[in-house]
């Protein structure tokens, strides 16, 4: 469904992604794990086209998307929930959610999408008229995921949804991702929370210094000595 071939990306002179290739199939949940500054967010930015300078090929459902604008990528149903939520703090929760359906693929189904998201996240319905800036960390993450779902994604990319959340809230978020997954959504989950996210994954990649180091199914990687040593501290 999504395929990156030999992607290299740069911030000025600094190369962040090095010959990175990866693939996600329809219906899968794939986890990308890696330490801080490994290039995970940069990879997502390349896919979403908010980073300009990179080389290589990115295809989505057999369309080349590496030449597109960010809004055109969204039109294809390739949706990113960014690291740090990036909500619009001075807009209400409801306005935030509705903007998730801005692209032409879901603009006209705004009402139905909102009903769906409210059904999945009843708390967001309670908070609908509150400013997004006043949400707690866990709620903000839910709002961000809800906003992503508003776009009616074909592939949902979640960048560190558990970042900065209390362990119990992390479990809640992981549960939510599981539920979304059950409805057949294809998901790319970027995480530093290795144990939780690998349990969830069909397949996983390990990224280090901008390169893919390992690939395997979730369980394999959880059991592998490298991952244990590097990320689980065992």
């Amino acid at each position: 469904m999504l395929k990156l071939s030999n992607v290299n990306s740069f911030y000025g002179e600094v190369q962040v992604l090095k010959d990175l290739s990866l693939q996600i199939n329809q219906g899968e949940i794939v986890t990308l794990i890696g330490a801080n500054a490994a290039g995970k967010s940069t990879m997502l930015s390349c896919i979403s086209r908010t980073v300009k300078s990179f080389t290589g090929e990115i295809t989505f459902e057999d369309h080349r998307i590496d030449g597109l604008r960010p809004d055109q990528v969204v039109d294809h149903g390739l949706i990113q929930v960014p690291e740090g939520r990036l909500l619009f703090p001075k807009l209400t929760v409801r306005e935030n959610l509705e903007l998730g359906a801005y692209s032409k693929r879901s603009r006209n189904n705004r009402k139905e999408r909102l009903e769906y998201v409210y059904g999945l996240l009843p708390k967001m319905k309670e908070r609908s008229n509150q400013m997004a800036g006043s949400l707690s960390g866990g709620e903000a993450q839910m709002c961000a995921i809800g906003r992503g779902l508003m776009a009616d994604p074909k592939l949902l990319m979640l960048d560190e949804p558990s970042l900065g959340l209390a362990p119990i809230i992390v479990l809640e978020i992981m549960e939510l991702i599981k539920n979304i997954r059950k409805e057949g959504m294809t998901i790319l989950l970027v995480e530093q929370n290795v144990r939780q996210s690998l349990k969830l994954a069909d397949r996983a990649y390990v990224i280090e210094n901008g390169r893919i180091l390992m690939e395997g199914n979730g369980k394999e990687l959880l059991d592998s000595n490298e991952v244990k040593k590097a990320y689980l501290g065992i």
């Binding site: 604008r69 619009f88 001075k90 807009l91």
Partner: protein, 286 residues
């Protein structure tokens, strides 16, 4: 007492125009992130358009309102596409130099083509007055005020109530997130710029029956709009509306109590005080 009320209302009437001249600047700054020093020049252009249509075709500024706005929108669109779009990702200093240069170019083009003469539009209504109780008001100023405040409030409602308006507010809060929503931010930038220049053009048109057009007429309004926008909290449209009214009243009272020479001094003084004590603007929150 009656005098004071008269002075106050006169200030409010000017303030409506100042508000309209400023909301576009606030919008362009808030959404596009562009500090547009050429803002007042669009007011100047609209005044000349009104003047020439009046002299050549014989339509007064109110009759030529729609044509004027369409032309102003087109000019705004062309400036955005030809000039502004190229510097969207550039440094603020580059953008400022560019809009400053644009303002000088437009002023000097006006000087070249239209000369330095003051161009007045004298229509029947120019000296009309109306009496409300003991208060006497100049009809074109009242009309200008009503249309100006109406247009400013419409802009506010557009931002608050429409989906496109929500997209504009979203961009001003987080451009990257807005892109991830599938908002084509360049086209929204363009729209915000066009709305901004058209509204300041409307302000120019509205004062054209009572105020002369000359090549540097925009400059004084630019300064004023910048003060209003800073008072109002930079990117806030309602802040700019209230800030405009406020400056109008200050100016009016300064003129009444201290003399016309002190009008500008009064709001510059206020401006400096605000920058010292409330740098986020009178109505801005920290």
């Amino acid at each position: 007492m009656e005098q004071i009320l008269q002075v106050f209302i006169s200030g409010i009437l000017s303030g409506g125009i100042y508000a309209l001249a400023s909301v576009g600047l606030a919008l362009i700054f808030g959404v596009v992130g562009l500090v547009n020093f050429a803002h007042g020049e669009y007011l100047m252009l609209a005044m000349y358009i009104a003047y020439w249509i009046f002299n050549i075709v014989g339509l007064d500024p109110y009759q030529s309102l729609l044509i004027n706005l369409v032309v102003m929108a087109a000019i705004g669109y062309i400036t955005f596409k030809v000039i502004m779009e190229r510097v969207l990702d550039s440094d603020h200093s580059i953008q400022m130099l560019l809009t400053l240069a644009l303002s000088m170019v437009l002023q000097n083009l006006a000087l070249m083509f239209f000369k330095a003469d003051y161009r007045n539009i004298r229509i029947d209504m120019t000296n009309d007055i109306m009496n409300i109780g003991f208060i006497t008001l100049n009809t074109p100023r009242v009309l200008a005020f009503i249309i100006a405040i109406g247009a400013s409030v419409l802009l506010y409602l557009f931002l608050q109530k429409t989906f496109t308006g929500a997209a504009m507010r979203a961009i001003s809060q987080n451009g990257k997130a807005a892109q991830l929503m599938g908002i084509n931010i360049k086209s929204i930038y363009c729209l915000a710029f066009v709305i901004g220049t058209t509204l300041v053009g409307l302000a120019g048109l509205l004062i054209s029956p009572i105020y002369p057009a000359f090549p540097t007429v925009g400059a004084s309004f630019s300064t004023l709009a910048f003060i209003v926008v800073v008072l109002g909290g930079l990117s806030s449209v309602p802040g700019a509306i209230i800030g405009g009214l406020f400056i109008g009243v200050i100016e009016s009272f300064a003129g009444y109590f201290a003399g016309p020479a002190y009008q500008q001094a009064a709001y510059f003084l206020l401006f400096i005080l605000v920058l010292i004590f409330k740098p986020n603007g009178l109505f801005g929150r920290s």
